[in-house]
């Protein structure tokens, strides 16, 4: 459903127009054009080859795996795969760019147009057009805080493969931008082309923002560079929209420029010194040849794609009868969905969803663990749920057992056996307990007629005397029978 996005200024009503260029690091072992490692956090200049430092006579040789990941990403976004693409040089000087040019794709990118459906809220489901995806080299890192008058350069990141995913200006609010970014991240993680690790800079965005009065042509845009968290995406857009509206309402005009988001102040500021119009002098890299793909290779990659989030969502709802809300939670993390399905296939679907989303995710959150590091295996989780299902333990006991499983990784049956937690389902044993309680409390039995609430007291007594292990359903039934006698 279409929602209207307008912002009230002091004088006019405004609308924001936002497009993003997302830089997603390809999850590869080695760099795009060299055999150096892409591992995060190595000692400075240790993951650097002779090619990465751009020694004289060094030549790029492309990593085929990275090409495949860009194709798979394009396929997952339903995008056009270009069977002919070209690597260009983008020429500019910066100490983190040893070659004096970045190898990128300009005129002929590997992936063309596609689209992503984004569910922001139930009232706001929208689609974002993908303009293109191209492969390029990451730059190194300039470090400014190790010396008062010097900058230090670490080239470990230099040459790491990035996919630049460029959207059309289809985004209208900071919330939409965050939802889009999240959806994109989910898809990339699903297909494993990018780990989506924002702390390590695996996903960053350049955001193009302009404002206009609804119905007007597009306004002048500013590009906010290198925003690397959901929160900052939201803040940068909000700040920039207000800044631009402020200028326009004061009768000023927006200068097209590149701006930097300051994470400390939450503001954006102009990148001085880079204002002179750049001329990157793109031209095809003569050290490389055009990339020609066969349709057959693309088809094979398409066949090998895992189920995508939207498809998975629908299937989970239909197969397991869970709600859209529950499905959405599972789909967000492909590993969570796999965990759930593993459990659900071996136990009751109803129990599976409530225990995985409730107890398990709660415990993981509390202990700051990811599903990868989950101490409870899917087998153990399923057998715990079976113990509930077949009445061996009660739901309440199960929570205690689960807590122990989460701590030790033990099998639930062993915990239950060792600690004698089996539910008492032996009718005669429960009858004996009930008989004794009735015999010892004739006055309570007599009061029952006036105070039906006293029934709870009897249940409590029974559970207490059975150590909480009596099958609650059985207790209910037997107590009614006995009292009626």
């Amino acid at each position: 459903m279409k929602k209207k996005f307008t912002i009230e200024g002091d004088k006019y009503i405004w609308e924001a127009v936002i497009g993003m260029e997302v830089h997603a690091q390809v999850s590869s072992n080695s760099k795009l054009f060299s055999g150096a490692s892409t591992d995060f956090g190595g000692d400075p200049n240790h993951h650097v080859s002779l090619v990465d430092v751009a020694f004289p006579g060094m030549l790029p040789v492309i990593n085929g795996y990275c090409i495949d990941q860009a194709i798979r990403t394009g396929l997952a976004l339903g995008a056009q795969i270009n069977l002919y693409s070209v690597f260009d040089r983008k020429n500019y000087f910066y100490p983190d760019l040893p070659q004096g040019y970045q190898i990128s794709q300009f005129k002929y990118p590997i992936v063309g147009e596609g689209v992503i459906q984004v569910h922001n809220t139930d009232e706001d489901v929208f689609s974002v057009g993908i303009e293109r995806i191209h492969l390029e080299q990451d730059a190194g890192k300039n470090i400014h805080d190790l010396s008062p008058d010097k900058s230090y350069i670490d080239l470990n990141r230099s040459g790491v493969a990035l996919m630049e995913i460029v959207t059309k200006p289809d985004i209208r609010s900071s919330e939409q931008a965050k939802s889009f970014f999240s959806k994109l991240r989910t898809i990339l993680r699903y297909i494993g082309t990018c780990d989506g690790n924002m702390e390590q800079g695996s996903m960053r965005a350049d955001i193009n923002i302009s404002v206009r009065r609804p119905g007007d042509p597009l306004g002048t845009r500013c590009e906010v560079k290198n925003v690397n968290s959901f929160r900052f995406i939201g803040q940068a857009i909000e700040y920039e929209i207000q800044r631009q509206i402020g200028i326009l309402e004061d009768g000023g005009h927006i200068i097209q420029e590149t701006r930097l988001y300051d994470t400390k102040t939450g503001e954006t500021r102009s990148m001085r010194g880079k204002e002179e119009a750049q001329d990157y002098r793109y031209f095809p890299d003569p050290d490389l040849l055009p990339l020609r793909l066969s349709q057959q290779h693309v088809d094979e990659l398409k066949k090998g794609l895992p189920e995508l989030p939207d498809d998975k969502h629908e299937r989970l709802v239909h197969t397991y009868g869970i709600s859209h809300y529950e499905a959405a939670i599972l789909v967000e993390d492909p590993k969570a969905a796999i965990y759930f399905e593993d459990v659900a296939q071996k136990s009751s679907h109803k129990l599976a969803i409530s225990w995985v989303i409730g107890e398990l995710f709660g415990a993981l959150n509390k202990s700051k663990k990811t599903i990868d590091a989950c101490p409870v295996s899917t087998e153990n989780m399923a057998s715990l749920l079976s113990l509930i299902d077949n009445g061996t333990i009660s739901g309440r006991t199960a929570k205690d057992v689960f807590a122990k499983m989460f701590e030790t990784g033990e099998e639930p049956t062993r915990i239950v056996d060792r600690e004698g937690l089996q539910q008492v389902s032996d009718t005669s044993a429960i009858e004996d307990v009930i008989d004794t309680i009735i015999a010892n409390n004739p006055e309570k039995v007599a009061q029952l007629k006036e105070k039906p609430k006293l029934r709870g007291w009897f249940i409590g007594q029974i559970m207490q005397q059975t150590g909480g292990r009596a099958n609650p359903q059985l207790v209910n039934d037997l107590l009614d029978t006995k009292l009626a006698q």
């Binding site: 200049n45 100490p95 400014h144 008062p148 350069i153 055009p290």
Partner: protein
């Protein structure tokens, strides 16, 4: 076209090469001469011709995704005029 002062200053700026004021005239003269020579290309009929980047009609060779290089920081920094603690060092960059 002739290479004027503005053009020379612009390309010197783009290529990050210091160009003393008194040298500019020499560059504009010589490069304008070369440009006249280059502009004989305008005589060629290039209608419908595709640009050719490489004479090779080969597939782009692909590398396997393996880590085969790295951990040669001594070699990497061997020739660096200014270095410290395994880093290259430059004058402070103001962003």
């Amino acid at each position: 076209m002739s290479f004027d002062k503005k053009t020379i200053m612009h390309v010197a700026h783009l290529s990050n090469i210091d160009l003393p004021e008194d040298k500019i005239g020499e560059y504009t003269d010589k490069l304008s001469h070369v440009m006249t020579f280059i502009e004989t290309l305008n005589e060629v009929d290039i209608e419908g011709i595709e640009p050719m980047t490489s004479v090779l009609d080969l597939e782009l060779p692909l590398r396997k995704d393996e880590v085969t290089e790295g951990n040669i920081v001594t070699d990497i920094l061997l020739n660096a005029p200014e270095k410290n603690d395994d880093y290259f060092v430059v004058p402070k960059i103001i962003e």
